[in-house]
């Protein structure tokens, strides 16, 4: 197996045993990126100079015997995470060549842990989308089938990890944007509990739903990254002051007696048969491992997509107001007056989906509509949260499909936003409830496309979530499969 195919913890073992150097690992990653990314198009910006320095520092640290599990590990960052001195675009024209004078808290945390940043990855503009087709710059291809989408909005991060261009990546998840692309690309994606990870430096889409998390090659890597980025941040008032346990230590492989709930609302008449079979087979595996599987109900599930598209767009309409052409980033040329400058800059700078959501959210918050939309949405959000509270009184973990179908074709849903929104039907409730969710591969379609399995747990119970996912992963081989497209080009 080449270095680039290895997981972070495998690389870390080799690095700490001094069998390889961080600089060599990085050389491999960049060779792989140069070979594969021209056809995958996962990266918007490469950070080679930064990465070289970080790798050199990692090697020194390893030599001093002070390496942590992420020291020297090549990691990609979704391009809505601010990086000091490196442009941060959100895949939007409106940010132009914005170069943040600060690092996101998660970026500092990974840097401190010794990770090596290979580059910034593509996304749907401002993380709004489920296919990464809404990027203003490029369409990222699914490494399993280049005619298909990698999922979104963290599609660049998912494709980069799946195609072995980095060991792991960070993404952000507002309604499924880590888990759905992880499912599409056959890797592990974790959305932590709301408040578990600081949002400082994440360019906001919907502040009450956004959460940063890892995309990784296996559950252990996801746990190691969570260990590095979790915790209270004084710069984010909404980050939780809840002690951070060792998530890597929670991976015991033992799920005997673990109560696993299967929500009946997630298995609908007419759902994709291959997805349903893969998920039900996975549940059987868990049962055989000793889990106590039972049915649960999340009765307000049918309202989740509607509630999400009211609340998320409302917050987005306000969060994106700062892109007004006044201070930084894109300003339209030759405006006739102030209003004209606002209107032209925003009309030219934002893409169609972002504008659609700003308009939806502006409408939902407007005088006369607020009660019927925003307030009602918040009320239903509470009901959805209560569904989960009730379900978690009787089970420890909930298992569902991550997405209703495997990755769809590029262009297939761009003309129909509602169809596109339904890609997140199984992931959205989780953000509304604030609980943690993880996707990992549980099979392949007849077309050799990965199928995702979603694990959910109660707030701040990532240890149980990861333990269950890890136990399943240990009992399966799906995560070891490599996409055929990834085999092209030079193997380092």
């Amino acid at each position: 197996m080449s270095l680039t195919e290895k997981t972070a913890h495998e690389l870390s073992d080799l690095l700490r045993k001094k069998e390889v150097k961080a600089a060599e690992v990085l050389d491999g990653a960049f060779a792989r990126i140069r070979a594969v990314d021209p056809s995958i198009r996962a990266f918007l910006t490469l950070m080679e100079e930064t990465a070289r320095k970080q790798a050199a520092a990692a090697d020194e640290r390893i030599a001093r015997g002070q390496a942590g599990p992420l020291t020297g590990i090549p990691v990609a960052l979704k391009d809505n995470l601010c990086t000091r001195g490196t442009r941060t675009t959100c895949a939007s024209k409106i940010l132009g060549n914005f170069v943040p004078p600060y690092d996101a808290t998660v970026v500092s945390a990974l840097d401190k842990a010794g990770a090596v940043f290979v580059g910034k990855t593509n996304l749907d503009e401002f993380a709004m989308g489920s296919s990464t087709e809404n990027s203003a710059f490029q369409v990222t291809r699914n490494p399993w089938d280049k005619e298909r989408i990698p999922g979104g909005s963290s599609g660049g991060s998912a494709a980069a990890v799946a195609a072995d261009m980095c060991a792991a990546a960070l993404g952000s998840d507002t309604g499924g944007s880590i888990r759905q692309p992880a499912a599409c690309c056959g890797i592990v994606g974790l959305k932590p509990t709301y408040g578990r990870v600081s949002r400082y430096g994440l360019v906001a889409f919907a502040s009450s739903l956004d959460q940063i998390g890892p995309l990784a090659k296996d559950v252990r890597d996801a746990a190691l990254i969570l260990d590095a980025i979790a915790g209270k941040d004084p710069a984010d008032s909404t980050s939780a002051d809840v002690p951070v346990p060792s998530h890597a230590a929670a991976l015991t492989g033992d799920v005997r007696g673990l109560r696993i709930g299967i929500p009946k609302e997630y298995f609908l008449e007419g759902m994709d048969a291959e997805v349903e079979k893969a998920v039900r087979d996975a549940v059987e595996v868990l049962r055989r491992l000793g889990a106590d599987v039972r049915e649960v109900s999340l009765p307000h599930t049918p309202y989740a997509v509607a509630v999400y598209y009211i609340l998320a767009t409302s917050e987005a309409s306000s969060n994106l107001a700062r892109f007004d052409g006044v201070k930084y980033a894109y300003r339209a040329g030759r405006p006739s007056d102030l209003l004209d400058m606002y209107m032209k800059s925003r009309a030219e700078g934002f893409g169609a989906e972002v504008k659609r959501r700003i308009m939806l959210g502006t409408y939902a918050l407007s005088a006369g509509y607020y009660d019927a939309y925003y307030r009602k949405g918040q009320q239903v959000r509470t009901l959805i949260k209560q569904d989960f509270d009730r379900a978690f009184e009787t089970v420890d973990v909930i298992v569902t499909p991550t997405a209703p179908t495997p990755a769809f074709k590029i262009g297939e849903k761009t003309a129909d936003p509602l169809q596109m929104y339904l890609s997140d039907i199984f992931t959205i409730s989780v953000n509304l409830a604030g609980v943690p969710g993880l996707s990992l591969p549980c099979g392949f379609s007849s077309g050799s496309l990965p199928i995702g399995l979603q694990f959910l747990a109660k707030a701040f119970d990532e240890p149980t979530l990861l333990r269950a996912a890890h136990a399943y992963e240990q009992a399966s081989e799906w995560h070891k499969r490599k996409p055929p497209a990834a085999g092209e080009g030079a193997k380092a």
């Binding site: 940010l95 943040p100 008032s237 306000s318 201070k327 925003y374």
Partner: protein, 482 residues
């Protein structure tokens, strides 16, 4: 019957008070007036992408103390909200404010107008952030933005529409400002904009309970302008109604040069601020014990101080009110009393000569060249007879102008009072010798002339003769000889 008395005005005031915190409301930048443009800024108050606000606990303490001083109900849990609108001085495109649940609800402000005490009810007090400033100087087609003020903590104090006259409005504003200064939470500087006022004004038939359509007059930046702006707006609305028209809901600006209000935007043009709960901040939860601790830290406030001055120092209601109105004057008074033990004399000098000289010089009492220590020193000289009350006037003026102490002025100008009987006798004898006709008249029964002799003696002594001694000696010498 004139048109005015058929109507009464209904006035509600919104005060925006900048809090005297060291740092801004949601970031660590300095809260300081007058720095070069955009030097008191950071990614948070510049509204850069991805940054988040963190609430300044000192600002919370200040607004809670203000609420306690005005007898408001302090909410155990309140929320921040976003007020959305586009303007270049508003970097995030929204202002973090409070909407559905403010920190303080209700409350009252006691005012005295024409000797009558009134309690003006408050609607609410909430915490928000200030915007920056647009600067339109220089080139006609370029505007600049200074964000030093963006994010400065701002407290909005909203009264119920309970005020009826411009005089009441000014009394209310003064009371609010003085109380904030007592609390040391706002410097109350209207010129620099740290204390700003919007007035909601409507009229209705006298005696009616209904509320008329209001106009909001924005940013009136002095007490005098508040009075003028309200008066002329009331007049304007009466004229509109008298001419058969209807007052429309709108925002107006006071043009102080012309003494009129002018329309700024109508209700139709009004912003829809699309308020919603600020998702980047958790609800503000106030611990009861903390609020009680802050309550114990409150200083003595104007009303309590006024009562105590009357009781403890035997001052008249008027004097007690005058001296307790502003904390600086009250502190000055009490310090002078502490050093001199003469409350009535201290009150008279502060309210009389000191206030007059300060007004003429345009100075603040806290920076008076005559300090409480020096005033007390002068009062001592009067009490122990070193100088007369009359001489003291001249001494005080010299102290104010030169910054010297009383003893120094008295010594330098040779103003020590003459109490030596021999010296006074000599002057008296001289005066009697110089005025034989008057002396004869007095002795003939025209006793009114006593004052004339006193005046002559004082004049001859250059005002330095001890008046009591002069009286005593004159009386003796005026007796017919023999």
């Amino acid at each position: 019957m004139n048109a005015g008395s058929k109507y009464e005005a209904v006035i509600g005031l919104e005060v925006h008070a900048q809090l005297l915190t060291e740092s801004k409301n949601f970031c660590g930048c300095a809260n300081r007036f007058g720095a070069p443009p955009n030097t008191q800024t950071c990614p948070v108050c510049l509204g850069l992408p991805g940054v988040l606000p963190v609430l300044n606990r000192k600002a919370v303490e200040y607004i809670v103390k203000t609420g306690l001083a005005f007898h408001s109900k302090i909410a155990p849990e309140s929320r921040f909200a976003r007020k959305n609108y586009f303007y270049p001085d508003l970097p995030k495109g929204y202002q973090i404010s409070q909407y559905e649940s403010p920190v303080c609800e209700g409350g009252r402000v006691e005012i005295v107008v024409d000797g009558e005490v009134r309690n003006v009810l408050l609607h609410r007090i909430h915490l928000e952030e200030d915007a920056g400033k647009n600067i339109h100087e220089g080139s006609a087609d370029v505007s600049r933005v200074d964000l030093n003020r963006a994010g400065v903590p701002l407290m909005e104090i909203v009264s119920e529409p309970e005020l009826r006259t411009p005089e009441e409005a000014v009394a209310y504003l003064k009371k609010v400002r003085n109380t904030l200064r007592y609390l040391n939470v706002c410097d109350g500087n209207m010129e620099e904009g740290s204390f700003r006022c919007d007035a909601n004004v409507s009229i209705r038939p006298a005696g009616s309970d209904a509320l008329g359509t209001k106009a909001e007059i924005k940013n009136v930046n002095s007490f005098r302008f508040v009075k003028q702006a309200i008066a002329c707006e009331v007049e304007r609305q009466i004229a509109v109604v008298e001419e058969g028209g209807r007052v429309v809901q709108e925002t107006r600006l006071f043009d102080s040069a012309r003494g009129v209000t002018v329309s700024m935007r109508s209700k139709e043009e009004a912003h829809d601020y699309r308020y919603f709960p600020e998702p980047d901040l958790v609800p503000l939860v106030l611990d009861r014990a903390q609020v009680e601790a802050w309550a114990r830290e409150l200083p003595e406030l104007p009303d309590a101080k006024r009562e105590r001055f009357a009781r403890e120092y035997g001052l008249s209601e008027y004097d007690a009110a005058f001296l307790s109105e502003e904390r600086a004057a009250a502190d000055y008074f009490e310090e002078t009393v502490r050093l001199s033990g003469q409350p009535k004399a201290a009150a008279n000098w502060i309210m009389g000569d000191l206030t007059r000289f300060l007004n003429e010089a345009g100075g603040e009492i806290a920076a008076s060249p005559v300090t409480p220590e020096r005033l007390a020193g002068m009062l001592d000289l009067v009490e122990n007879g070193t100088i007369s009350g009359k001489i003291a006037k001249a001494v005080f003026e010299e102290m104010f102008k030169s910054g010297k102490d009383a003893a120094g002025v008295v010594k330098e100008k040779g103003l020590v009072q003459v109490s030596d009987a021999g010296e006074i006798e000599r002057v008296v004898e001289q005066v009697l010798a110089d005025n034989p006709n008057e002396l004869a008249a007095y002795r003939g029964g025209k006793e009114k002339l006593f004052g004339f002799f006193v005046g002559q003696v004082m004049k001859k002594s250059g005002g330095k003769a001890n008046p009591a001694k002069v009286n005593e000696i004159l009386k003796a010498k005026l007796q017919p000889p023999g």
